[in-house]
Every structure is written in structure tokens, then in C-alpha cells.
């Protein structure tokens, strides 16, 4: 159920409608738009009696939402969601392409800094690295944990890159939220509803990766779990699905990019590294993702992939990453986009981050 306010409705009227909804035992989500505010109602098992709502001051219309997801839907919010990062001009969503790069796992301070320097030099704005690793085998490297979070916080300070890293459970979620700029929820946890709800109670952007066999509806419903708790900064990420095809580790399903953009206002990135599992397929599929209209790319880069503790075979060499940046920059204008090169820190105190932009 969605309450559409009149264009001239006051903040007080919006507030009054929200309170009315909460008194009915439901949850109200005020979603300001360019022209008017809409108020999503969640928590109702069945039909909400629309009679009273329509008579409240400032209400233009009360409409039923036909999809199982509400807050993720364009029916509820028409404008694209753009996730912004305080103190910088970095964004995810909107006209600027977002590029997230870094190693699968943070293996050491030296490794992480070496890679961060190189991806920053090529113009990435976001740095990814695993602190807590979901590994198929309990005997495989499980990540450096808190130490890795500290290393990435240093990288943010040193290179001005925004930090994205994965939370594995409710315990690590709080740590990741404390140290990182974006909390990643991995494909294997896309339907870990407990984790989704906890992430929804935080006020940090969440990058939600599509599950290996998730349909579009399930993907948006997982986002809805986060949104329904009041965290509206959700970034989707296609990372390949599981099929019979065996020439790549997964089948990168790029058609979900326009499909998401039709139904939802949330931004969507593509991860061609996990999506293919093979280094020589990453560049073609990164180009294809941008050409398909994705809001950006999440890509693994390693300075010594042959020695990586995880995902070496799918990690780009830094020079391959630089070439990728050049190529997607050329494709960007065809889809009405721009590739910003590097991050601009708004309060560039101490000159610490000079020179990272072009």
C-alpha cells in the first residue's frame, strides 16, 4: 500500500499521515521524490482500510502495490536511488559510473596497499577486500578479520578510496559497519534473512549480491528485507548464476541489469570477476556490463594473482585493470554515463589526498 501526498503537502501533513499509519499498527516509510512525497506502508498482512487515509490532509491518492516488494519498487519511488558518501563526490547510481576494485582477500598490509595504490592510480573510487571470507571449505583461508578492517581503514585515509567489505553474520556486521563505507552481503547470504534484517537497522549502505540461483523477484525481496527496516541505501550486484554451462565458473546474467532498472529504483553493479571466474573473460564482460547499462563494476585486482590466497585465477593484473578503465570510459557516453577518475574529497584538509583525481 502506498500513500501519495499532494505536491504542496507540508512536512507536518506527511508526519501526521505517518503517525496515523503507525497507530494502525503498521510501519510508515516516507520516501521524498522530486515532485512529491510517497509513504510506503509495510507490516500489513492483508488489506489496509484505505478509507480514513484518503481523507487525511495532504493526501492525493492511496494505491495498492501489485508486486510482492514495495519499497524496492519503482511504483513506490520513481527516481533512481543515488547512494552518496559524505565528504566526497563519490556516488553509486546516477550519471557517474562506480568502479569498485581490489583483492578478493586482504592478505597483508603490504599487499593491500600495493593494490590500492594501483587501482587508485587508474581512477577507482572504491576499494574492496575481504576481511571475513565465506569459503566452501572450512580448511581454506578464512580472512584476517579485524586486522583486515584496520588495514582498509588506513587505505581509506591514505588513498581516499571508499571501503567495501563483506559481513558474514550479525557479529561481523557491526564491525564492518563501524570500519567500512559499504557493507557487502554475499551471494550465499542473500536469503540469510536474519542478516538482512540486522543490516536494515544500520544506517550504512549495503551492497547485496544476487544469490546463485535467485530469481529477480527473490533478489528484490531480499533488498526489501533491508529497506523494510528503514535502511534505504541498498546497492544490488549481479555476480553470475549457476547453470549447466561449464565454460565459466558462473553464467553472468547481464539481462538482469535492464530488468532491475525497469522495476526498481535501486542501483545495480556487475561483478565480472565472480561472474566468469576466469581472468581472460573479465575485461570483455566488464565492457558488456557497462554497455548493458549497469551503474558500475566490482572487480578483483591483485598484484600477484598467482600467489593469491583466494580467487587468483579471476583477478586482473593492475595493467589489465587500467586498460579496463580506459575501455569502459569510452563506452560510458553511449549509455549516457561518465566514468569519473578518482575521488574528490570535499574538505581536502592537510592536502593528504592530493593528486588522486585527474
Amino acid at each position: 500500500m502506498l500513500v501519495v501526498m499532494k505536491a504542496q503537502a507540508t512536512a507536518e501533513e506527511v508526519q501526521a499521515v505517518c503517525e496515523h499509519i503507525e497507530q494502525l499498527g503498521f510501519r510508515a516509510h516516507a520516501l521524498p521524490g522530486a515532485q512529491r512525497t510517497a509513504i510506503g506502508i509495510t507490516g500489513n498482512q492483508g488489506e489496509v482500510d484505505r478509507g480514513n487515509l484518503e481523507e487525511l490532509p495532504g493526501v492525493a491518492e492511496v494505491i495498492r502495490v501489485s508486486k510482492p516488494y514495495k519499497l524496492a519498487s519503482r511504483e513506490v519511488k520513481q527516481e533512481d536511488t543515488i547512494v552518496r558518501f559524505a565528504g566526497t563526490d563519490a556516488t553509486i547510481g546516477g550519471r557517474n559510473l562506480a568502479v569498485v576494485a581490489g583483492p578478493c582477500s586482504i592478505e597483508s598490509r603490504e599487499q593491500a596497499f600495493a593494490i590500492a595504490e594501483q587501482v587508485a592510480a587508474s581512477g577507482a573510487q572504491f576499494f574492496r577486500g575481504g576481511a571475513y571470507k565465506p569459503r566452501t571449505s572450512p580448511y581454506a583461508f578464512q580472512g584476517l578479520g579485524l586486522e583486515a578492517l584496520h588495514i582498509m581503514a588506513e587505505i581509506r585515509d591514505r588513498f581516499g578510496l571508499r571501503i567495501i567489505t563483506e559481513a558474514m553474520d550479525n557479529e561481523t556486521l557491526d564491525l564492518v559497519a563501524e570500519w567500512a563505507d559499504v557493507i557487502q552481503i554475499g551471494a550465499r547470504n542473500m536469503q540469510n534473512f536474519s542478516l538482512l534484517k540486522h543490516a536494515g537497522r544500520l544506517r550504512k549502505p549495503v551492497l547485496l549480491k544476487r544469490g546463485m540461483s535467485a530469481t529477480l523477484d527473490e533478489f528484490l525481496m531480499a533488498a526489501e528485507y533491508i529497506l523494510s527496516e528503514g535502511n534505504y541505501e541498498v546497492i544490488l550486484c549481479e555476480r553470475g548464476v549457476r547453470t549447466f554451462a561449464d565454460h565459466c565458473r558462473n553464467t553472468l546474467d547481464l539481462s538482469i541489469v535492464p530488468a532491475v532498472q525497469k522495476l526498481s529504483h535501486l542501483p545495480i553493479l556487475v561483478d565480472p570477476s565472480h561472474g566468469t571466474g576466469k581472468r581472460d573473460k573479465v575485461l570483455p564482460m566488464a565492457r558488456a556490463a557497462i554497455a548493458a547499462g549497469a551503474d558500475g563494476i566490482l572487480v578483483e585486482v591483485h598484484n600477484q594473482p598467482e600467489k593469491a590466497l583466494s580467487d587468483g585465477p579471476q583477478s586482473l593484473y593492475p595493467d589489465q585493470f587500467a586498460r579496463m578503465m580506459d575501455e569502459i570510459e569510452q563506452i560510458a557516453p553511449v549509455v549516457g554515463r561518465t566514468l569519473p577518475r578518482g575521488i574528490r574529497i570535499e574538505t581536502a584538509a592537510a592536502g593528504a589526498h592530493d593528486g588522486f583525481g585527474k
Copy 2:
């Protein structure tokens, strides 16, 4: 790596080998067999120097394990694992078929008792019911939580049924372990490695459902996460996988039953309710599962499926469940099995059910 002890090795010799392994910084898992004890070594990233191990008293042989899973493998433990329940003759694994029945969700004390009475009357030994529900939508019924655990504990006392229910996260895991006899980890959490590790530290049997797109190796590796923490009572469960086929909600992959039994000593049940999603397919597929050699069946039964808060369309009516029991009882001898009807409490004095709850 696996240390096979001589048939006549003493308990002290086994203990000494385990201590030696732990001193090397690894983890030792003593696995007694019918003839001899084997000791699994985990925690080694690479090769363990086998030289010293082979010279310790009582050691027959040190062998490398070729599969990525170790403790789940028949190479490490040849005999079938049989999960037993103290104070009763109920088992999962071994000659006796195990039947787990009950509603998708515990909706009320009345509903749960009515169904429990009927499935007990038809001879089920295990009662299932959801307290914490993983639902695709955040707006769907999420389960009664602790209240449902209390109701199921009463059902155990009243009907002598062992209780199986799902834990959604580390928080509910402890509660479920306190109140239930078997902890279920659902398909969506099959690779929630944090939850698997926590379950591995408990000493309650764990029913692990196959993920929607999990390969056999991934399934056994998920079990290995639990085993590697020292909890050796893992029960596998096939519940259908996701494919292009649309005549059922999932595609029940029965060939995984003999495939698991060849590679692993762990018992495997089949869930034809989730595996098909349609009531009229449950009975044929339950028969097929037993004929394929499964160790038992997990099936949803509801006294009023048309009013169920979840999974009504796939729940059997009690009389259909009774017929299912009759039919699988007839098939059991063809595969060298027996269907026990009802649970025998070993100390069957009047008021004997006292003390099974907490």
C-alpha cells in the same frame, strides 16, 4: 590426512596420537569404527609431515584423503553414521527408516497438538514444525519464535516424538539447541558458514538441507564445516534443487541419495514436500525416495492445509500421511529397511515422558 590405528591399538595410544597432532597445531578427530579407530586431521593448509606419525605406537597407516571433505568421507569412516536419541529407540540412519512429520509452521498450540496426535498415531517418530521461518517476503508470517519451541517441547512430553526445528541465525541456534532434539539448518543457510561453525560447536544432531543450487561436493563441504568443529551427528536432507523445470516448485534430485551414500557415511533424508511443492506429488516422490534408498522422509502434514499460514499447498492431510506410511512400509524390505511404527521409550513406566522437556 587420516591416521588409521591398528585393530589392537589401545585407547591410550589413540589419545597419544591425538595429542601429537594437536601439538603440531592441527586438530585431531578420533573416529571409532567397528574394527579400528581412525583419526582425522584437519586444520592443515598443506601437507602434514607423515614421518613422525607413522612411527607412533599403535599407528597402522597414514593416508592422504583425496576429496576436499575429510570427516564427511567414507575414506575416513567406513561405517554408516547412525544418530541415536537417548532414552528411546528412535534413530536416523541404519536399518530403520526415520519419518519426520509436522506442519510447516507452528501456528498455535491447538494446531500443533492436533497434527502431532495424528502423525504419532500413524507411527511417525519425529515431529517437525517451524518456530523461526525463513520467508521470501519480510511481510509474511515469520513464526511464533520461542512460544513455538515451548509448544514443541510439550508435544515431545505428551506424544514421545523427537522434535526437529530450524535455527535461522546464531541467536536462535542456542534456543533451538536448548529446546529441540535436532537442529535444522535450512537450504538458504546451507552456506551460512558462521551458522555452520556455531552448530558444529554444539552437541546436538544437525539436519542440514541441501542448498537450492548446491553440488554434491558443496553439500558435503557444508557438512564438513559442522563436523570439523567436533559435532559428528550431521543428517543430510535432499529437498529439491532449482532448475528450468516448472511443473513442480523444485526438481527433486533423488540420484543424490545413492551418490551421497557412496561417498559419505552420513545419513540422508528426503523432503518430498519442499521437493515438489504440490500435495499430489508428495506421495509418489516419498515412495520413490524410499525406493532410491533414502534413510527416511521429512514431510509436511497439516490438519487444515487450506488455512495454513505457510506451505499449505504442499502439506498432506493426515489421512494421506497415514497412507504414505503404509506404502513406504511395503517398499522398505525391498531396500533392506524396516519402518518402525512409533517410538518406544526405554523406561516406559507410567508418567515416563517426564523430563524430556526442560
Copy 3:
């Protein structure tokens, strides 16, 4: 569109309705049932004017058929189709289970006779063997062709077995129809519509295997191609579908058995040999198929599988086939079936086939 005749309608009235339909430019298919005859109308792109039809003598009702397939549907024909073979008591469909056994390819007269003798001794009624082989590689053994058809005709004469073999194209279709009792159309040709139409113009039973990624609707529509040309003896066969699962060559989708039986009157067999691709999975899945309600089994048997020119790893040894027959015989009564052992030739002239039954 379906015209249901009154129970007491005469043959002349049925004939008159058919002629009326044909005059309208459509095609009429008279389908006699236990109580009454129904007449299927095909060839209409849109709606047929029902007005006149309902007024013809003997017509009880004219109903629209809601599924895209018509002649394959139970809406059009309620009674199970039973395919009979003149001069014998062998059937496919109905109470008796049908067992089709033999090598993947006919490799030589000696090999074929040795296997035929053994499967006949165990009670098979149908012999399968490839004369024209669809092989993934153009450099693999392509079958003996016409020579193999001659060998199988001899086997029919010698052992009383009915012969099933595959046609690859319209050219071989006529040869197979001339020499065999049942024409097989393989999974790779399930949507070779030209072949289906030609097979529909013959008057020999057709065994249609499900395509590797065919939905239930597509499978029944492929059958409809054959039926719509007037050949009503179509036997369906599930042989495994392609999924991500890698523990077997294919994923045997047994739930399609009850799904087909609900929607269609056509008999359905299961092929656990191609369905698993592994000898040690064939017996469990053959039992499961019968328990799921299949009308029979199609299974590969070879006297020397290790030397087979094709599909050796999935072929049963003759003693394993004998055990399979014993086990499915025991399961048969649970699903209201009987396993006949061997074929009874009605006109047992010359005593040639004595002793093939029990």
C-alpha cells in the same frame, strides 16, 4: 475444441460429426472412450463456431480445451492410453509394467543375441538397441544402420521380444518403421518438428524421449505434433534433464511421472541409464521410477560394458538386470502394478517361442 458424443451415439453419428468438421476445413480425431466417444478438432487457429456442432445428432457437448495441447490431454481423453502389440500380450501402459532392455548400440550379431537371450531370460518383453546413433562427435561410432535392423528383426523372431530402435531423420524413419515395433525419437530430436510430423503419419507406436531442457508443456506439445497427424500411439520417456548438478550425467526428474499422468493419458517410461549415466545409480533410480508410478523402465544392458562402443559406463551387467527385475517386481504391487515376466505369443505356432515366460 472437443466434441463429446452422447453415450448412446451411433457410429454413423460419430462419422457424420467428423465429416462436418472436415468440411469446415479442420481435422477431426475420433477418440473412443469407455463410456462415450470424444472428437478432437485440430487445425483451427482461432475459435470454431460451436453453434452448428452442438445441434448435430448424437452430440452431448462442445467444450473448449484450455491447454495448448489437445489430443495429448486428459481433457480430451480420460482413459489411459495402452499401447498393444498384435499377436502378443505385451503392452505399454495399463496395469502391466513394461521393461525395455538391451545395449546402447547393436555392435554385432553375436553381441546382440547374447544380450537379448539374457534379458529375455530375466523377463524383459522389449529389446532396445541402436542402429542409427546420435553421437556428440562426428568421429564416434555411428551405428551399424540397416544391418542392425536386420539383426533386431532376427532377435524378435528368435526370442519373441518386441523391438525398439531410434530413427534419426525422415530417411531412417521409414526403415525403422518397417523393421521395428516401436520407433524411438531421441531427446536431441524432441523438437525436430519435421521428424515428429513424419512419425505422426506412420501407424507404428512412437517412443518420444524428453529433450534435455524441455518443460512439461513442451514435452506434451511434441507429442501433440505426432498425435495431430493421426498417430495416437505415443509413449513418453523421461531420461534426465540438464542442470548444474554434476554427480550424475543428467538429473533424473521423476516428478514428471505423476505430473504427466495428471495432465495426459499417454504412458510414460523412465530411462535410468541415460538419466544417471552411472551404472551404480541405475538400480536405485529404476526402483524409484517404479515407486513414483512410471509405466515401465528403459534400461541399457550389456554383456561386456567395459568393451561397449557407446555408453558402457551406464550399462548394467545381465545379473544386475536380473536383480533389478526382482526388485521392481516387489515394488509393483504397492503402486497397483504387475511385472509380467516374458512375453506370451498368442499364436504360438511351431512352438518357436516356448519357454520365454515363467
Copy 4:
């Protein structure tokens, strides 16, 4: 097995080696390269004795081929195959992108001419249209047959477009080969080995679409069937595969483009119309295909999609096609390609189009 000739080997030496191979009972395929000629040997079930071959004049080396496909492999032919069309500068493969456009089915002369005029105006070089249609239902429109071939031949004469249309069986294959410039073999016939062999005996280019659940190896083996008969002009086409995903009709698997290009010298096109089944997904995925490195696009265009007899919902309007051409033209240089606009007829005298049809 592959015989690599010395760079300076004469045509006579190549011929002598071929004859030697044929005398051994095998088949020789001389494949001229930029530097030297290689001779592929097919027809051998096992090992060919290489001794004699290596001693023949002009032979540099005899090497075993490790893949199941030989003639499709880059091991046998390193240079990209470029399919050329006599009398024009149109190519498939190589630097120039190929664009094939037209309606799903030829419905009438007027419809076909209207669409052909529009796609030619936007710069397409190839015209596609169905004469013989593989339809899931026997009751759906099956194509105009020979009449459609005649219409397309007129379109070639009128607009200079090269014609691509599908053959359904061996009968229509000869007709299509007579009237069209490229013979299409559809996804459902990708493993119709009889049809592949017949197409291999013709000397017309063949466009081979990937089967709905074909692996890369199976796709190249299907091409190998055509090549092994001596027809070396095979064009591959990705058209989406079948998965669980339901937001599009198929899942377009673009990563097969770089995967094919690594292993094979054959050109590969992408069909975003069948690959998505939805008009609004065609443009994004067409751009993505070019960005991934495809040799061109096969796309359905209709002047009145809402009235189309088949595949209306996935057909572009002519103005959408024009926009697609503009956008892929901009992406082309990023991947080292050029989009030629329209076809240049080499003998461009007035009335020059004479004689292209029959």
C-alpha cells in the same frame, strides 16, 4: 590429428599428403593459413600411424589434437575464419561487424519488403526471415515455405541484402541452399546430426545456433559435424540458454563469445531477440554483445510487431533498430571493429542486382 606443412610446401606436396591420408581410409581437410597450410585428418577412430606422414615431402610436423573437435579448433587453424559473399563486400567475421535483421517470419510480400527497406536504410547488410518455422505447437503458423524463399530472393535483388533463413530438415535444406545466401540451423536442431551432415555436404555458409542447453564443447562439436563434411563456412550464434531465471525468456550467455574466440577460429554472432524475448531488453543486450566482442548481431525487426504472426513481443520497431545501429557503431571502435553501413555491390552498374536470385 593434424599435419602442418612447411611454409614453402608446394600445392603438389599438399595434394600428395591429402591423397596419402585418403588412401589410409581417412579424410583429409586442407586448411590454408596465412603462413602455411595445415591438413586436418578426420575419420580415424583411434591413433593414426604418424610415422609415414612425417616423412612425406613438405611436411613440417604431425601433431595430435587434444580437443574432441578438430577442424573447429584454433589448434588446427589459427586465423579467424571470415565468411565472404561473392560480388559484395559483406563479410561475417573479421574487422567488420555483421548485422542481420528482419522479421521472425515472412508473412507477406508487403510486410517483408517494408521491413527490408527499413533495415537496409539503417545499414543492415543481411536480411533474415523465416520461411519454415519450428513452432512449439503444431497448430501455430508454420511459415509460408517456398513462397517466402521467393520473396526473400526478390528482396536480395531489390535491396542488395544477403539472405539468411532456416532449414528445418533435409528436404528444406536443399531449397534453402538454392535460394538463400546463408543456411540457418536453429537451436532445436543443433544436435540434429543428420541435418548437420547434409549441411556439411553443401557449399553454402551455415549459421548454427546454440542449443538451449548446449555446453561450449557440444556447440563446437555440432559445428565439427558440418566442417568434417568439408563445408568450412560455419558461423556460430549465441541465442540464450535455458536456466531457472524467469525475467527473460532465455538467459543470454555472453561469456561464450570470448570463450569461443579463444578456442575456435569460427565467427560468432549474438541474437539478443531470442536471447531475451522482450523488446525492451534487446537494445541493451545488443550493445553488450558488441562490447563483449561478438562478430555481429542477429536481430528481429518488424514494422507492426503487435500484429506479427510470431515473436512480436521481441521484435524491434524500425526506429529502435536505427538507434541500435547508431549505438553499436559507437561501441565498435572500443573493440577494434567497424560497423559498415549497407552493402557495397562490387559491380555496381545500373541493374547490378540482376542475377543474385535464381
